[in-house]
């Protein structure tokens, strides 16, 4: 159990350079501004859609959120490859993969939730067993399993390796998910922007708002990734140093007891042969 007493003894986390600190802060501020602007444009400025009416406003959130989930899983898979490749093998990539997958799971959940909010008024149901929906739900569970696997204790090297392989296998579902709307004729509509001919089916202010949504959510992902990575590396540092700290503490305790015994009058000492507890 780590207590605040332990925390006091730890060396402070590595100081970041000024450029790094301001860069990360700028990233966070930009993404926040972008998301605020997306909300403003999406809710007040853009007109309702001819077919979807007011419901179109979810389009500025749902695809960007889904994109961030894909991106996060992609980064996790790429970092896993970097870990498995012997020349670039380092715990750094494992931490990146874990941080990215965690953000991906959150955004995947947001995708499912925002999609089902959209589905209720449009299709009349919160959930339907459509190929796109099913494969997204599978993706969510697959990476949930990956996160569970990461938490299993064991020899770090072996843990990093099996996590990396599990991430790569889980990532196989991402292309299936993306193309499911084209392979199976699903209830879910085909991609608005990334279709086969790369011709967007959205124009004017609506397109710009969607683009802004994509950019600001991506910036938000980058910011979260940096922060999550920092938390993870500090946690690992804490794990390592708190072990050394508690060892030192136990040793000091033992020394103190030994000193006290040496100072005490001989009569209070237990007779030779009894077991002192």
């Amino acid at each position: 159990m780590i207590t605040s007493k332990h925390l006091d003894r730890l060396s402070p986390p590595k100081q970041r350079s000024k450029v790094e600190r301001y860069g990360v802060a700028l990233l966070g501020a930009l993404s926040l501004l972008g998301i605020a602007a997306t909300v403003w444009l999406g809710l007040w400025v853009t007109p309702p859609d001819v077919n979807m009416g007011q419901l179109v406003r979810l389009v500025y959130v749902h695809p960007p959120v889904a994109w961030v989930a894909y991106l996060a899983f992609g980064v996790a898979a790429a970092a896993s490859i970097a870990y498995l490749w012997k020349r670039t093998r380092s715990p750094f990539w494992d931490r990146v993969a874990g941080a990215s997958a965690e953000i991906g799971v959150v955004f995947c959940a947001l995708t499912l939730i925002s999609g089902s909010i959209w589905g209720r008024p449009t299709w009349g149901v919160w959930w339907t067993w459509d190929a796109r929906l099913t494969s997204t739900a599978l993706l969510f569970v697959l990476f949930l399993g990956y996160l569970a696997l990461r938490k299993v204790p064991g020899n770090p090297e072996a843990r990093y390796k099996r996590s990396a392989i599990a991430a790569l296998i889980a990532f196989l579902d991402v292309p299936v998910d993306h193309f499911s709307v084209l392979w199976w004729h699903t209830l879910h509509q085909p991609p608005t922007v990334l279709d086969a001919g790369l011709t967007p089916h959205i124009h004017g202010i609506m397109a710009w708002t969607l683009l802004l949504g994509f950019c600001s959510f991506t910036l938000g992902f980058a910011w979260l990734l940096v922060q999550r990575y920092r938390v993870e590396s500090m946690r690992q540092q804490l794990d390592e140093e708190s072990l050394t700290a508690s060892l030192a503490e136990r040793r000091a305790e033992a020394d103190a007891t030994a000193d006290a015994e040496a100072d005490a009058p001989t009569s209070t000492r237990p007779p030779v042969g009894t077991i002192a507890r």
Binding site: L84, T134, L138, V141, L142, G145, A148, L149, V152, P153, G154, N155, E157, A158, R159, K161, R162, I165, A166, L168, I169, A170, L172, V176
Partner: protein, 223 residues
């Protein structure tokens, strides 16, 4: 690689022949699952027949999880895994061998469960060829994915709980495709419509077999 695969498969099957864990424990359990489904759906024949394809494949999936667990319990006892490694076998060969042995056991289980579905639920099998093709492809996919996840979770203290959690979502497409393919044999008049689903099963098996051949090296080295 192929020779090593054959050796490992032979070893696993010989252990099974002598210990009879799959036949004596997993097979009765999978039939029991069929009986429990029948209890859950009631004594009426109609819903049972309608759902028989799905229930059959769910039972196969659960049996597969147990078979995978058994297959890797063999390796973790008395550090048999280190023994395999010390023999200098090709990791890809070990993967293929374990997958082959698992496939044989799963095919036996599937035959038994097939008889169970016909006898207990009164399902009628029409397109025998399509059903057999479905079984073969689905089994290859199940065995390949199962051996990968068995290797990932073997040696962990939480392997019993983490294996189904990792493996079942991955093999969910097999359940879906195999069920649809079987259902098409039952409903089709003359021309079965299961072909796209068979293709999906074939792609799944090919993807996981090649993933296993590539990934088993690093997985097998340590952990």
């Amino acid at each position: 690689m192929w020779r090593d695969a054959l050796l490992v498969a032979e070893k696993d099957l010989r252990i099974e022949m002598r210990s009879r864990v799959t036949i004596n424990q997993v097979a009765p359990l999978s039939v029991l699952i069929l009986v429990l489904f029948a209890f859950a759906l009631g004594p009426d024949r109609k819903p049972l027949v309608a759902a028989s394809a799905g229930l059959y494949w769910v039972a196969v999936l659960f049996a597969a999880v147990l078979a995978v667990q058994r297959s890797f319990a063999l390796e973790s006892a008395e550090s048999a895994r280190d023994g395999l490694r010390l023999w200098g076998l090709d990791p890809a060969g070990v993967f293929l061998g374990k997958a082959a042995a698992l496939s044989v056991q799963l095919l036996v289980l599937e035959a038994l469960l097939g008889a169970g579905v016909v006898l207990l639920y009164g399902a009628r099998l029409t397109g025998i060829l399509l059903a057999i093709a479905t079984c073969l492809l689905a089994t290859a996919g199940l065995a390949a994915a199962g051996v990968i996840y068995g290797a990932i979770s073997s040696g962990l203290r939480v392997r019993e709980t983490i294996l189904p959690f990792l493996m079942l979502p991955v093999v969910a497409p097999v359940l879906l495709a195999a069920t649809e393919s079987w259902r098409s044999t039952a409903t089709a008049h003359g021309t079965p419509t299961g072909e796209p689903w068979l293709n999906l099963l074939a792609v799944f098996a090919a993807v996981y077999l090649s993933a296993g051949v590539l990934a088993f090296g690093p997985l097998f080295e340590e952990s």
